[in-house]
């Protein structure tokens, strides 16, 4: 791929207005200018993504300048000393675009800068949240809902050639996106045992003409459930124990729907984009820290940890191939990394 050059400038202003003893309003805006510069080849495309013209720019020559305003507004209502309600709106403009492959193979994420054809992604996010301190400020609870509307989303065309094509724009389709969800969070801040629990229920989708008959479909990053539990316990003056467990729904991916033979080779065929799921990911990590010495000038400790304590084989990739043992079969192969990673570290800190 070609190197791309750009120059980004931004102006930002924000202010907080205490409208009433119970109401804080924060408002602001960010003005961004994203200038795409040469040198390089830029393209013009027809409706089918065929290159109709190649424009060659010299070093430092301006190709295109995108100017965008990102307004933001947040209101915080103080209900009583232990609880508040917040509402916010923010627009975000993004000039770097993540292109994810939708297959289950080894991740080939690419970051692309905006070009004359790839327009800045614009996201409008609205969020509502309720925050409450419980049990005499020992516990902190919050819950939020959000909805995000996205413009200028990109995804690969069906059958895109991602490796050899210099005009990457010719392999991309454009559309809209949406993401919405509910988050809940509980944290214990004081005492011998501290920690937090969080849960998110979410949906992230795209709608692009030319993919899945122009209907809403899952973005690769769509994560239905996301759970995290973190616990820390001070057992004694010398021993501190920690554990965390995370769980999330696997990426939305595309499995082959079947296969056929052409030119005497087995080829997989695919139907709906991102209609399948990688297996869910979960893992428990354990840790224990043993305080060796705590002196005026230094502190030393020995930390033991066990990553992936129950040895879950979380898939890194799933590949589909003709079986090595039986050439008349096709099979799915899961590659996983890092089962049980124990580690010991000696920490020494000067005070």
């Amino acid at each position: 791929m070609q190197d791309r050059y750009s120059w980004e400038n931004a102006l930002f202003a924000t202010d907080t207005w205490k409208a009433a003893p119970w109401l804080n309003i924060t408002y602001g805006a960010r003005l961004t200018s994203f200038a795409i510069l040469g040198e390089g080849d830029f393209y013009e495309l027809d409706g089918d993504g065929n290159v109709t013209d190649t424009l060659t720019y010299s070093k430092g020559q301006l190709v295109k300048n995108y100017v965008n305003l990102e307004p933001r507004l947040a209101a915080s209502f103080i209900i009583n000393p232990s609880s508040s309600f917040k509402a916010s709106y923010v627009r975000n403009v993004q000039n770097l675009h993540l292109m994810s492959n939708s297959t289950t193979g080894f991740p080939t994420d690419k970051w692309l800068a905006s070009t004359n054809i790839i327009k800045p992604e614009i996201a409008d996010l609205v969020a509502l949240g309720w925050y409450k301190n419980l049990a005499g400020n020992q516990l902190e609870f919050s819950t939020e809902i959000y909805y995000k509307k996205m413009q200028n989303q990109i995804d690969y065309r069906t059958g895109a050639d991602v490796f050899t094509n210099d005009a990457i724009e010719s392999q991309i389709l454009f559309g809209v996106g949406r993401a919405y969800g509910w988050e809940v969070f509980l944290k214990k801040k004081t005492g011998k045992t501290t920690g937090w629990i969080s849960y998110t229920l979410a949906k992230t989708e795209r709608k692009i003409e030319g993919i899945n008959d122009g209907e809403w479909y899952n973005a690769r990053q769509d994560r239905t459930h996301d759970v995290a539990i973190v616990v820390n316990h001070q057992l004694s003056r010398r021993w501190n124990l920690a554990a965390n467990w995370i769980y999330y729904t696997g990426d939305a991916v595309t499995y082959p729907s079947g296969k056929y033979i052409i030119d005497n080779q087995v080829v997989f065929y695919y139907t709906k984009r991102n209609a399948d799921r990688m297996p869910s990911y979960h893992r428990l990590d354990l840790g224990a820290t043993w305080l060796l010495k705590d002196r005026k000038k230094f502190r030393s400790e020995l930390a033991f940890s066990l990553f992936n304590a129950y040895g879950r084989e979380n898939p890194y990739a799933i590949t589909f191939r003709q079986s090595e043992d039986d050439a008349t079969k096709t099979e799915a192969v899961k590659t996983s990394l890092f089962r049980f990673v124990p580690s010991i570290s000696y920490n020494f800190k000067f005070k």
Binding site: A167, K259, Y260, I262, I318, A332, L337, V341
Partner: protein, 199 residues
């Protein structure tokens, strides 16, 4: 100061994935050349966990016609869905393929049209060496001049020591139109090491 020890391991395992069976679809592979090959293979897709087997479709009526002239019938040459005719293509002419097949429920008709492009001759064909990921690799290289008219596409089929190498090499002329280009056939497949290549 941190001193750590790690044990790392990657593992590969065949797993059972849930793939919903899809309605089977037809697969048409048609080959027409200017040296008297005219062949169509009609087959069907199979499900992911089915045994690999070419599911040929027999009993179809297949014709080919040059520029709207009287169609020529392709006859079944075996019972594996292969049909042939004594027919030769000519560069610059347009050919219409028509397939009619009646199964238990309905009659399926597939049509396609394609123009045979003008021949592009190779300027040269040679073996070049490249250092790739720290290893010196040999590759077949092809030098040719793309014709001035846009819309040409190329495919290379490579044999290594007489054995078909499975990489699919295809390219379009939309970035090279009318220019002299060199294409190098880099193989990512470790099963083949290129020593003497013929293309």
């Amino acid at each position: 100061m941190v001193i750590s020890s790690f044990l790392l391991a990657a593992c590969e395992r065949v797993i059972q994935v849930d793939i919903k069976d899809q309605p089977l679809r037809f697969v048409v592979e048609g080959v027409l050349t200017d040296d008297s090959t005219c062949r169509v293979r009609l087959s069907r897709t199979s499900n992911f966990y089915d045994t690999i087997n070419l599911v040929g479709v027999t009993g179809a009526k297949i014709t080919i016609a040059e520029d709207g002239k009287t169609p020529v019938v392709l006859n079944a040459s075996n019972n594996r869905g292969e049909y042939r005719a004594a027919f030769t293509g000519r560069p610059g002419r347009t050919y219409q393929l028509r397939i009619e097949y009646t199964d238990a429920t309905m009659t399926h008709v597939f049509t396609a049209s394609s123009t045979m492009p003008q021949k592009v001759t190779l300027d040269s064909l040679y073996v070049s060496e490249r250092v790739f990921l720290g290893k010196t690799r040999m590759m077949a290289a092809i030098r040719f001049k793309d014709p001035p008219a846009p819309g040409n596409a190329y495919r290379y089929v490579q044999r290594v020591d007489g054995e078909l190498e499975t990489t699919v090499f295809v390219t379009k002329d939309d970035l090279i139109n009318g220019r002299t280009v060199v294409d190098e056939l880099l193989i990512f497949n470790d099963d083949y090491t290129l020593k003497n290549a013929t293309s």
